[in-house]
Subunit: 514 residues, 2 copies
Amino acid sequence: MAAPVWSVDPRTGKQREEVATEATPAEVDRTVRAAHAARASLADRGVRAAFLRTAADLLDEAGEHVIEAADAETALGPGRLTGELARTTYQLREFADIVDEGSFLDILIDHADPDLKPIPRPDLRRYKLPLGVVAVYSASNFPLAFSVPGGDTASALAAGCPVVVKAHPDHPATSELCASVLRRAAARSGLPEDVVSLVHGFEAGVELVKHPLVAAAGFTGSVRGGRALYDAAAARPTPIPFHGELGSLNPVVVTEAAAEERGEQIGSGLAGAVTLGVGQFCVKPGLVLAPAGPAGDRVLKSLTEAVSDSTEGVLLDHRMRDNFVAGVRERTALPGVESPVTPGESGEHAVSAGFLTVPAASLADGDTHELLLEECFGPVTVVARYESQDEISAVLGRIPGNLTATVHISEGEANGAEGSADELLAEVTPLAGRVLVNGWPTGVAVAPAQHHGGPYPATTSTSTSVGGTAIERWLRPVAYQNTPQALLPPELRDDNPLGLPRRVDGRREPGSAA
Amino acid sequence: MAAPVWSVDPRTGKQREEVATEATPAEVDRTVRAAHAARASLADRGVRAAFLRTAADLLDEAGEHVIEAADAETALGPGRLTGELARTTYQLREFADIVDEGSFLDILIDHADPDLKPIPRPDLRRYKLPLGVVAVYSASNFPLAFSVPGGDTASALAAGCPVVVKAHPDHPATSELCASVLRRAAARSGLPEDVVSLVHGFEAGVELVKHPLVAAAGFTGSVRGGRALYDAAAARPTPIPFHGELGSLNPVVVTEAAAEERGEQIGSGLAGAVTLGVGQFCVKPGLVLAPAGPAGDRVLKSLTEAVSDSTEGVLLDHRMRDNFVAGVRERTALPGVESPVTPGESGEHAVSAGFLTVPAASLADGDTHELLLEECFGPVTVVARYESQDEISAVLGRIPGNLTATVHISEGEANGAEGSADELLAEVTPLAGRVLVNGWPTGVAVAPAQHHGGPYPATTSTSTSVGGTAIERWLRPVAYQNTPQALLPPELRDDNPLGLPRRVDGRREPGSAA
């Protein structure tokens, strides 16, 4: 008997409905084979772009149902989910534009040069091909933007790769609903529905990453789960690229001058970033270096007020709630750690936000406080009070890789009139994939220049899961040597029949869409 | 006592001189730390480009000594090594040009758009940074172009990464000589010598890939050695990118029409590709699908003559010679395998070239002949005689990933007048990173559009180790959000003070070097 998959209401802990069953190994195999068989249908860029736009349209149409299902399963609230759906369909349309524009094919053409010294050069033409079936492991905390219709799926389909999504158990009904919309969009675009499929179940996820016809994987989730799947991907007879976004502390440094200039504003801004979405953002600031002394006190006072005023919230599931409560308790028990606003359980299902403080010196030396350098999922942050620049450096030197690093500096430091923020920026840049000045990392804009990734454990590769370049993860280059024009793919022919942007003999040629 | 490292003459099997000692773990650690400490010196692109050009100049100057040392250790001959040195210095200068031109930084700038729907966009600017210390594992078969001063080293330095090379034990003296030239070039360019270092010893190589300050690795060598290091890289607490080029069968398909049109020429061309460099090329054609019947017979007749006429040669070391002899013996023992020209030992140190034949049907079904689908390093190839298109497809369907795949077709098939070579090209493209028509894969041109990589086990990643895009392996993107102009790296400032090519708000801006 296949195990049932239940949709659960985190606000009550009660089962809502039986949504599906966990996929058996045979079902995973059938699903992957069907996806693989459908891959040629995605070869045409025009069809792919149309499919992505239709998917966006149909998701918008189904918006009310999607948001209702997602809210019932995640407790994230209709407001946030409405924004997330808009972001998700915007992302699908962005990738349609990227497919149309064609730069992602990275076309390079070098004509033969028989006179080249020291060695004559043959005719070489290179572009990029889709890798094949992509396994997508969806996140719990964004049931749309980082789940079935999210960035991994959108970028893989844009690249021409069929997708098999492993549903997150925290929102199986939303996953089923979104998968059915995507499959309907495929059919409406003249594609086989199997270009997108969904499987449920932990074991199904493990089977998936090991399947010989799976060519790459994208993952958003915990360090433990992501690392286990990464290891499985690397241990295959034929290893595959595993693009995982695992965990991130997202350090923030508040300079003394910034705290003096606008300590209250920084405190309240920080409270907003920590409590947004009940602290369940992969870019939630988890460690804040703030000055000891009066200026830092003002940051903390404002933070205390704003966090105390924040409403309680319901986490995505009860396991996360237990982990959050235990994680806070463990951290609070460390020597020197105080909790001006203690986060924790609130009633039977909710949690309240809070924050901890610790002298930065405790983090700088030894291993006693290492736990504070690990992500704690939920509405809590740790403020480390520093006495000197050296303490800032010492703590930054101990932080593992991050998605983001943020500095809050004064106006004088920003324009160079006062001290050098250059050095501070140079110090945080090696730690992260995105560096912010005087902002908050929550909110990951979908834009060509976005980079949502960072040194391990932020990601398991050097790539991004948000933004235009996310498509690069699902492609591999191939070069054709001395191939007759008639046999070349149209992308690589001299007359450029598809009007694509290319680099020919070192010179850029704009595409017709440019 | 540290183990001595001997230079050995493969023509006699005798030790030439003691060159160095194997690096202890403490020495590997010191070397990596020194490389890491030197990384900031490579930040300036102008200095990097000058360094690469100086390295090329000094290698050219030292040419006579380098070639003499390499010939004494590898028996590849001064002719071949002179060409390889020219290719190596050309490659260093090419990467200097790439560094100057700046496209590799992949600069994307999106200005803030507060009116963007559904979500306002912050200012985002992205470019690429060097990863850090790169470990390079050099190949045996190209003591220059894929060794100390080769493509991995050149591309890593171009990216701004210090390099620690693990010397190949088949040419330690050449490695020492080249490393000293590169270190001299660094000093002459105002850089610390430690931007390039060399370590010897198997254990040192294992230590190297595990070192916490090593940020990425490049490898060219065997499937067994490469996979072991890949596994070690993946098993680290912080996994690192491992770009390994491991093994490749490099299949060739000769159509019936091509064999009819120019069977003799194909046979002699094949003999050249199989015997070049005593068959020690990673792109040596190891499996040739040729038609059964009279047209195929003509290919074989010509191949037989040309291979019989080829001179005997000395392999890179005696272990390879033993493996070659054993590999040929094992393959020849398989049912249905014949050896029209039996390759094997020739005297005490040399080997002679040859080839085997087998009915393609034997390869198409079952696992009895799987060994013929594995690379056999040395001057031998396997010709599989096919009776039908279906047999071609069946054999191609069983071949693992390759660096190259080649088709030989007739003039009519090339221009579409006769049958469809389209399908054949579509069938071999998924197998390889480079597809050739009517040529031979030996000779890997250094060119922007080159791709020297392919599905596993050809490479462990989707990247290339030859050509301009090889630099991409050693970089990671970082995005700056809402960062004041004065604090941005000059590469990302609005006024583009370095004149770099960029993509700003979706529009390409050419650089001043373009």
